[in-house]
Symmetry: C3
Subunit: 212 residues, 3 copies
């Protein structure tokens, strides 16, 4: 398509943005992998996982800020400035909510809930698809593969919805109001992570529709 | 106005989008009517209403997806692509939160709460106004009538806010923490439906401001 | 910069928008100051503070509506119409959530919680920075000072996050499920106010990046 060709003519400038987005996606993969592994062998007294989540969250803030700095310095961007800033903000939201989930898992010190790691696996898988989608967005050659990754991310969000409702019903069976308030709030945070991944997938799908 | 005339020159292409938006609005009217009637004669052991909500939610997903497919295939759109995609996403959110409300009403199996049908009536009335606004947006002849529908939707959201706070205070009088957690969460979902309808009204008002 | 100069050529028309945004920022400063002072000497039986919050919230609705009316009447705007409407909507959200916080503080009639006024002080400080940022946005001479205000607002939101998590953990020590549900919900509303201020800061930063 014509617009795609125009886009490819600007490669050197664009490289800055795609390099940044790939580093962001890699950071999210590392963050969600560490989160998932930390939950599989969770120990409330060992806060090393929480500290790593905090470090990743700061790294994501820095990378997101760098996208905005680059937007200010480059008149030519691979796609609309609004799309770039929305994409960066959306990816940062994912990190924010992973960190918030980890924070409250440690703060509330409730007994282990096996469901947390079901969520973290879905989150990790979503981040892997986000990385693929960003790579395929770079070439603008593979719009269908971007779409396929987005469909997978949407399906992980649907699964997360079901995991949430089943886990919530099971949680109420404990009849322990205070435990319910704590764990329901953590489950809600975890589900929001998959919502934020879906938001990013929708942003990428609309970019593909515009330019591919 | 000049822009309005330019717009009207593209009618055949536009028809696709307005036809889709009218089908979406009709689906929301049917969905909210079935939801309201189901709540008026609610029976937790008869899940037919929930199944219908699930069917409507899938139908809305398909129609929303069709809007995005059409955006990809049509260079000429009746108004900005961003407005069309925001409108479609906003209308889909309404269906998602009606379905979520219905799901948790069935899952939590709490005793009937008369307030649910007060909300569903406000939701149904909002969907009727959304349909009117979409029809009046089509002609671009009746910007004032679009605005009037939007004002009504905003007023339903205000009423829903009051219904929520009064119902929540009354709920606390039961002093039953677990019942409170469950029903408060359902009331919050129901109120979000009216928030989402207000978001759509705001999108339509800003479209009218731009083009009418 | 060239774009900045073009912008300054339109001053008379722009004045309408900046005058409105300054009145909005002044209203938010007054509102948050009254809210903070009301919480410092809180008396659940004296609803005068709540009535003032309701008045301010209505005043903000009127001013926000006036921004949209002016958008409809002016073809020339100081920056993109989307940015103006997002800025107006974001500032209105701050007022909505201050009012919601106040409403539930009165409705739930729970014993005083010293933390509420820690939040209201952060909210007041954020509104003071919003006013500064809007003034510095007007001239487009001081993009760095806009950015500095935005950084401060972001830091208040970070502090609010910590205040929230510490207050929530302390709240659970009461072991009183119903008190926890009520006060947790108020704390969450208060924290959302600082989130909404951060959203506005992000909108202003992206405006500065585009035009400064």
């Amino acid at each position: 398509m014509g617009i795609g060709n125009i886009f490819r003519a600007f490669q050197p400038k664009d490289k800055i943005f795609f390099d940044l987005f790939e580093r962001i996606a890699d950071t999210l993969i590392d963050m969600s992998k560490t989160f998932h592994e930390g939950l599989l062998e969770f120990d409330v007294n060992d806060e090393s996982m929480l500290n790593q989540m905090s470090d990743y969250e700061h790294k994501m803030d820095d990378l997101t800020h760098e996208v905005f700095v680059q937007l200010g310095e480059n008149f030519i961007t691979p796609f609309d400035r609004e799309d770039i800033s929305q994409l960066a903000a959306g990816l940062d939201d994912i990190a924010d909510y992973i960190y918030a989930s980890a924070k409250y898992i440690y703060l509330y010190k409730t007994p282990e809930n096996k469901v947390y790691s079901e969520f973290s696996l879905l989150i990790y898988k979503s981040c892997v698809e986000l990385k693929k989608a960003i790579e395929n967005l770079k070439d603008f050659k593979n719009p269908n593969e971007v779409k396929e990754s987005c469909i997978k991310i949407n399906s992980y969000e649907n699964i997360a919805d079901d995991v949430l409702s089943q886990a919530t019903v099971k949680l109420f069976e404990t009849n322990d109001a205070i435990l319910i308030i704590k764990q329901k709030s953590i489950l809600d945070y975890l589900e929001v992570v998959t919502d934020k991944a879906e938001d990013v997938a929708n942003i990428m799908e609309s970019i593909v529709i515009k330019y591919a």
